[in-house]
Each structure stands twice: as structure tokens, then as C-alpha cells.
Point group: C2
Chain length 339, copies 2
DNA sequence: GTGAAAGCGCTAACAC
DNA sequence: GTGTTAGCGCTTTCAC
């Protein structure tokens, strides 16, 4: 299965053409110390002339690939756009590039395959992997985890303030007079109590707020299908309850948008009034759309992505003490929760 | 499954532990010819035991990285989700993996950086790069281009049938009695006549259909901001014309959704009836949402992504004659164009 | 069927 | 300041 890639120009070609050693070219490439301006000049113009581009594979084998891997569990999740945007912004102007690795199955596999020498560092959104396993991984390659409320020693974390964000949603809904408030969330494997995933925290806060408000008996939790499908059916099931909720707090905007779909369908079919409030999380682009107009929690996804990339760059510079960044949240109230 | 601390285990470690040569391990790894069952067995269990994972960089340097690069111009575009999904599906079960490279600026850079030995092949969505340049690139590494209506010799192409798709939209709108039909499209650099980009074709078809219907004087083309922002302002400008269009044909669903936003805002502000029909292209998930319910052209994005990946795999198997795949389109009529 | 050995393109010590 | 050299981990003839 060997592919003949057209032979490209190597560092030796450049060295020969410029009449210097390969090491000299390498130094120019990396802005390393010990190159005279004259030689730098000569080498650079030779590089330009020959159209030389360093082989990432060869560099990676010896030093760094100048690639940062960003693992994304689900390509379609709108929140990812913010993260990617932030990460791209943070590496702009550095020699590093972001590559995205869509998780095609168990996230362990994706992360390992990233760690197989392809990238210099990893940003990942993997609530499902074990902390110990991650600490091991982090010994091999710098790691920044997004959305994990653990406090590991070996890697950095970037999270939103899920406690505050979820509480803001609940207080908003309660202050509106809602009592039958349901929570629409991810499958159970992502919300195990104490697991420290964002969705487990949001769920816990939901439960706590309901209990505090004396509404423990009104707690209703619906979950989207494990298969990664949409949450419309789960939301529809809520609406079909004998005493349907008057408000749905969805774990993120994508599910909230699905909930709005379920509500709209119920309205169309049953002719019921659109009395169900819906709130989401992440404040994705779509939330501001006038036809959606979704109340949502802004947790500064772009900033989170940028922080994650910046922290990874810091680790590549040598930092080894862990850092844990928590992004502030702000509730954006829109008409989806209007009275 | 276990990751060892510190320096990772290499092929030599495996060879030593299994009491064979490195070459033997390599052969087992690649299912190459000339390994006895006994030895294979022994090597495999050693690999398992040591948690050995081959270095992608080292493999890439000598042979293949088993990574396919998918360049995506804009992470937020909803159509991309379909492409990625299809590509992932096509490589499932092969030793290859998809990595995504978000274009952070000029697409030339992104493509070159992919070609720098990182991946064995490239799938790209880059209407803006020159065909000659691509042919050069394709000499170095197998390339499949999405959404280019050129017929190059050096690389494969996968497109939708933009002629048929755009015509279906226009015929639909015309049959509904619309005469003031506007087209909302990308900035001019993406729609240059004859450039063969999907959006240039859709625009040409729009113009042709209008002319054929005797509506040449009603042609109105609005473009979204070059900076990559949304198309709401462009759509709003259309609606603010003295004689606003009664229908907007948007170049893709993202812009159509923006158009719906502009319409909704106009309705809210001016109290006008919602009389503007909107049609999109790509039939993204959101189009089916009851609150959006957007008429759109299904061009089988998932299938396109899968085809592209499959064709790339074929090239990696040795095919060198170019293939050009055109996906059939189907108009999905929804209430956004209801009378 | 199996192993020794020569690189792939680059970086990093260490000479000069 | 510049060049020489020894690998990084792997694949791949080519002997045995």
C-alpha cells in the first residue's frame, strides 16, 4: 500500500543549494541561536526559492510537530464551534496549528491515537474517560481537559461555572412562577453523580434547586437517546406526561432546540397553547435567532477554547504545575422563557 | 490499554520482549507477508501486554500515517457536519482515521500544512484555490476535492448537482407565483462566473431562471459580509428595498436561516405580514425543525462525504485515473415557502 | 520464515 | 558561528 508521493524538497536540498549545513538550515527554521544574519538571509531565500516545507513527520519524530490536537466528541454540537474558534484564535501568531480529531467511538481511542506522536499537546472534551487514565496520558503528552470538574495534578482543566450557570437558570424559572420544571439531559453515562461532568453538575443543581424550593416531588429528568440522536422524543415524552412540565431546563442548547421542536409539534398537533418555557445552556449562535430566541447560559465558549489552547502552549513552554480555569457564566434571558 | 509512564514503548521493546526482531514486529503490525502463526501470536500478546502503540510520526516518515486530512473552511457551517459524518463512516473499519483541519486563513496554507507529511491523503472543500496549484498538490499527495465543478486530471471531485438543485428551487418558487425573487449568496470571491464553485453555479442558475421567466429586471443579488459574518444584514437590506422580494433563495441553509431571522425581525418591527418565502440549500438538520421548517435542497451531504473518503482510499490503493462523482439532489418543500 | 541493516527528514549535542 | 554526527521509531529490501 505504499504511495509514491512525489519526492519533495528536503532540508538537505536546501542546505546544498544554499551552501550550508543541514544543521544551519534547521536553526534558521526554528529561529535557534547561532546564525549569522547573512546566512539566515541566504537560507531563507533558498527556502523560498525551492518551496521547501519541513516534514511534520520528521520534525515530530525528533522534536515537535507544532500541531495541537483538539478532540471533539460530536462534530455537530454547536458549542464546539465556540471552542474551536477560541483555540484557533489563541494559536494565531504562534507556530502551532490546531487539528481536530472527531471521536468516532470510545474517547480513549481517539485520545490515544492523538497521543501517538501526531501532536505536541492535546485539548480534549472527554467526560467519560477515567482521571487516572488521563493522568497517565498527561505524562506522555501535555493535556488540557475541557469541562471536567476534577482537580488533577497532571493536566489542566477549563470549565464553565456550571453551578452558577445552572442555578441562574433555575432561579430564573422559579422566579417566573414555574413549579413543574423538568430537566432534559444527556444519557446516564454522562451524568453519573459525582463524576464531575458539566451535565452531572447541572443535573445536581437542578435537583438541589427543586428540593430547596420544596418541589422535590416535581423532579422530572428526561434523557436523550444514548445513540446520540436528538432529544425531541425525550422532550415529547415529558410533554405527554399527565401533568406535563411548564418549563424545561435543557442541559445544552442543542437539546433545548430539540425541546422547542417538541413543544412546537405538540402545539401544532394538540392545539395546546405554547405554555412551556424552555431554557438552554451555552448560548450558541442559534439561541439569538428570533425564531428560536432561547434563554440560555453564556459560558464564554470562545474564551474557554482560547484559555485551553493558551494553557497548552504554556505547558509546551515548560510549565508543569496544573492550572484550573473556571469561566464565568451569564444568563441570557430571551422569549423562550417569557411568561 | 495501559499507558506506561515516561518514555513510551517502542517497536524495539516489543521485539526484545517477544524475542524477535523489530522487522518481525513491524510485519505483524502491518499484516505483512512472511510471519508464522506462532510468532504472530507471540508478538501480538506482547504488544497487548506492553501497551505498545506505533508512533504515527515514525510511520509517516517511512510509509503512511494512516490519517486522512479533511480541510474545512468554516467550522460553524452546518453542512460540514454531514460531510464529516460521511467521511467518518467511510473509513470505519479501515486502519485510517479522519483528522479535521480548520482553515484558519487562506486555504492554500491549510492544505499545504496538511500535505507536509501529516496525512496520507486530503479531502478539501476549497473553492478558492487554483486548479493548477491543486494539480501540483495532488502530485505530492492524493487529493479529493468537494464542491468543485472542474474536471481535473490529477485529483478526484465530489459535487452535488448544483444545476438541478438550484433549478428545482427556482421552479418551485416561480410555480408558487413569485416574481420578485432575490438570491442571497456568498461574497463575490466565491461566486466568480465560471469559477465552478457551487455558489457560482447556483447564482448562474438563479440568473438564468429569472431571465427565462422574463424576470431579468427583477434580479437582485445580496451577499453576505466578506468577513465571514452572518447574512442577516444582507437579507435585511433586501427586505428594505422599495419593492422587497417576495421570495429569497439563499445559497445555503445557514444563510437561509439568517434570512428567516431578518424576515422575523422585519415582521416584528414593521408589523408586516410574513409574506417572504425563503428557500435554502443543503437540507441541514435545522431545516426540518418546526420553528424553522425551511424548504431546502437535499444534496446528500453524508453520501458526499462518504464518497470522498472512499475515493481517497481507492487512490491510496493505487487508483490514479480521476473520478468525478455528482450527488443527486432532491428538493424538500417545507412551510418556509408555503403560499 | 526470519533478521540485519539502511535509511526516511529532521533536531540537538558537540566539535571545530 | 558553523558543521559533523548520532539518532528519533519505523519500514523495507535483501541476505540467510
Amino acid at each position: 500500500m505504499s504511495i509514491r508521493k512525489g519526492r519533495s524538497v528536503t532540508i538537505s536540498d536546501v542546505a546544498e543549494a544554499a551552501g550550508v549545513s543541514r544543521a544551519a538550515v534547521s536553526k534558521v527554521l526554528r529561529n535557534a541561536y547561532g546564525v549569522s544574519p547573512g546566512m539566515r538571509q541566504r537560507v531563507e531565500s533558498t527556502i523560498e526559492q525551492l518551496g521547501y516545507r519541513p516534514s511534520v513527520a520528521a520534525r515530530a519524530l525528533r522534536g515537535s510537530s507544532y500541531r495541537l490536537g483538539l478532540e471533539i466528541p460530536y462534530t455537530g454540537a454547536r458549542f464546539m464551534t465556540q471552542i474551536v474558534e477560541g483555540a484557533k484564535r489563541a494559536v494565531a501568531g504562534t507556530p502551532y496549528q490546531i487539528i481536530l480529531a472527531p471521536a468516532d467511538g470510545p474517547e480513549y481511542d481517539t485520545l490515544e491515537s492523538l497521543a501517538d506522536g501526531l501532536v505536541d499537546g492535546i485539548i480534549a472534551i472527554s467526560p467519560l474517560v477515567d482521571q487516572g487514565w488521563l493522568e497517565d496520558l498527561a505524562r506522555r503528552v501535555p493535556v488540557v481537559m475541557l469541562g471536567r470538574h476534577d482537580t488533577p495534578a497532571g493536566y489542566d482543566t477549563v470549565t464553565g461555572d456550571d453551578h452558577a450557570g445552572a442555578r441562574a437558570v433555575m432561579e430564573h424559572l422559579l422566579s417566573l412562577g414555574h413549579r413543574r420544571i423538568a430537566h432534559l439531559t444527556e444519557p446516564e453515562n454522562v451524568t453519573a453523580p459525582g463524576s464531575g461532568t458539566p451535565h452531572s453538575v447541572r443535573l445536581e443543581v437542578y435537583r438541589a434547586c427543586m428540593a430547596e424550593a420544596g418541589l422535590a416531588d416535581q423532579i422530572r429528568v428526561a434523557r436523550r437517546d444514548v445513540s446520540g440522536g436528538d432529544a425531541v422524543a425525550a422532550a415529547a415524552a415529558l410533554l405527554a406526561l399527565p401533568e406535563p412540565p411548564t418549563a424545561i431546563f435543557a442541559g445544552h442548547d442543542d437539546m433545548a432546540v430539540d425541546a422547542l421542536a417538541a413543544v412546537a409539534r405538540a402545539v401544532a398537533v394538540a392545539g395546546r397553547d405554547k405554555t412551556v418555557a424552555v431554557a438552554g445552556y451555552d448560548n450558541t449562535d442559534l439561541a439569538a435567532h428570533p425564531l428560536i430566541d432561547l434563554t440560555s447560559v453564556d459560558q464564554q465558549g470562545v474564551e474557554m477554547g482560547a484559555q485551553a489552547a493558551t494553557m497548552l502552549l504554556e505547558r509546551l513552554q515548560g510549565r508543569s504545575e496544573p492550572r484550573h480555569y473556571v469561566a464565568a457564566t451569564q444568563l441570557r434571558i430571551r422569549s423562550s422563557t417569557a411568561l
